[in-house]
């Protein structure tokens, strides 16, 4: 199972690099949404790897709530660009 996590870390580095070279706030937001879903899937992988029920619950909650936070943030940033 180790190689799976190493591969996901490699996939996680791509959006981090994208967020580092800032051009447009929306490109950074895309990188953030990608990272948020990737980290919660990684939490699920770890929970299955260790056969731990609690970690799995936390992973699912982060997966659903992180997306809601992203929508809130997207609307606030849209309002700032309007004026």
């Amino acid at each position: 199972m180790n190689w799976i996590l190493l591969a996901t870390i490699a996939a996680l580095l791509i959006p981090i690099y994208e967020a580092w070279q800032d051009e447009n706030i929306w490109q950074t937001m895309l990188a953030f949404s990608s990272i948020a879903s990737k980290t919660s899937i990684m939490i699920l992988i770890v929970s299955v790897l260790r056969d731990d029920w609690t970690l799995g619950v936390v992973g699912v909650i982060i997966l659903s709530v992180g997306n809601a936070a992203l929508m809130l943030l997207a609307h606030i940033i849209r309002r700032t660009n309007e004026l």
Partner: protein
């Protein structure tokens, strides 16, 4: 047999992740990147979760919940991001 199938699912999911994320680095428009990200990334994540489900069927309520929230939330988030980044329809 089941073990091989689950590894296959996870491998396909990671391949989809790379496929969806690599266009993020280029100089394309936000909507193009959003399209590849929301389609390939969500499919990859769902395939990984299905692989995990085959590996440990005991945790099925959790993983099914993860599948549903991935499918619904990521679709809605794609629409919201597209709406917000294109100026909000005014």
């Amino acid at each position: 047999m089941i073990d091989t199938l689950s590894y296959l699912c996870i491998g396909v999911g990671i391949f989809f992740w790379f496929w969806g994320t690599l266009p993020l680095v280029g100089d394309r428009s936000v909507l193009f990147k959003l399209h590849s990200l929301s389609v390939a990334d969500t499919l990859g994540s769902m395939s990984i979760v299905v692989g995990l489900l085959l590996k440990i069927p005991r945790e099925w309520p959790l993983l099914v919940l993860a599948l549903i929230s991935l499918a619904i939330w990521n679709t809605v988030l794609g629409y919201v991001l597209a709406y917000c980044s294109s100026g909000g329809g005014d």
